[in-house]
Symmetry: C2
Subunit: 210 residues, 2 copies
């Protein structure tokens, strides 16, 4: 038996795979799935187009993986914000702000995850993504109702409206390609846009103006 896969090879392959994933992620962040052609991804990763197909069954599979990764990152952040101390209303506000700020910082990716049309396999992932969000917010809203900090309401529906209001506010105006060069990496503190979105959302939830 003259050849047997060894640790070294496994590592090398894993690294190539990782590099492909990273480059695809970058392409998507930059121009959406549409702009992440295999040729471009391959060039960016410094491999031949054929190599992509040694690591992923098809473009759809690659995209599904990217989607899963990107999504997990976002959902985790929101889950984290929802897991802190405090009453449901405060935690929800923190989480919504987290969500909105992250989307605002990466609007193209946000648009890709929320609204860009994708192939069926990827759309499946999107459904899971939506469900994950819906469940997180829903859970928190239900807790709020339980502790009487929120009025009784259709938690699932409210959660959907929250995501929609934020998405439209960010992705609508800022989406297509007009996310002109203005880099803003220091935008950690306060954005008036985010503030007024959150204001509408919290009011939609609580029925109270702060």
């Amino acid at each position: 038996m003259p050849y047997r896969e060894t640790e070294k090879m496994r590592n090398r392959k894993a690294e190539a795979r990782k590099r492909i994933i990273e480059c695809t992620y970058e392409c998507v962040s930059d121009g959406g799935f549409r702009s992440a052609q295999i040729t471009r991804v391959a060039a960016c990763a410094g491999v031949a187009t054929g190599t992509i197909y040694r690591h992923f069954e098809s473009k759809e599979h690659l995209f599904a993986e990217i989607f899963r990764i990107a999504t997990q990152r976002e959902v985790d952040k929101v889950a984290e914000a929802l897991a802190t101390e405090g009453n449901a209303v405060t935690r929800l506000e923190t989480a919504l702000r987290q969500f909105a700020e992250r989307a605002l910082r990466g609007p193209v990716m946000a648009w890709s995850l929320i609204a860009e049309p994708v192939d069926p396999k990827v759309e499946e992932e999107r459904l899971k993504f939506r469900r994950a969000y819906a469940e997180l917010f829903e859970q928190a809203i239900k807790e709020g109702i339980g502790e009487n900090s929120l009025p009784d309401q259709d938690a699932r529906q409210s959660s959907t409206c929250l995501v929609g209001a934020i998405a439209e506010s960010l992705v609508g105006p800022l989406s297509p390609a007009q996310t002109g060069g203005t880099d803003q990496t220091d935008n950690n503190d306060h954005d008036p846009l985010v503030d007024s979105i959150i204001c509408f959302c919290m009011q939609g939830l609580t029925g109270t103006r702060r």
Copy 2:
């Protein structure tokens, strides 16, 4: 001068044009702009592909026209609902319901108008469409603030959130292709889905639970 365009010919051309528009509209309602290939539209209209190009400079121009028509129809309905008697809050509620119900009845078209990626020429029309909505709702919200039936707020931002909340509620869950056969042409009166969306939206606007 052996040939001069006559009334009869003008009519015939106008009819062909109309037929092309209708068929494109139908295709878009059915599967979005993506699915409205020139070949299919031509087949549906009973003309050759080349004929399309006698009536429209390019696919983009044709789509832009369709978009304009579809959009006008929706905006008019909302404007109409906002032009009735009553205070701003009531009129807004009627208008939102109108918007939501129409979108729910034609979710694919709604998605195409709101979120489907389209070519630049069509995207331009979309911007006008957004602006038209924003202005209508904004105006009404401002009236509400003026007559004290609404608390002071960023009218433009609220209007965006309204559109987003409704769009996500309808297009998110119901959008892609899973708008399975269930025809509902008699859905004129009350849909619980619409009710709870409107509830969230009105609360977001008014800060009051009904």
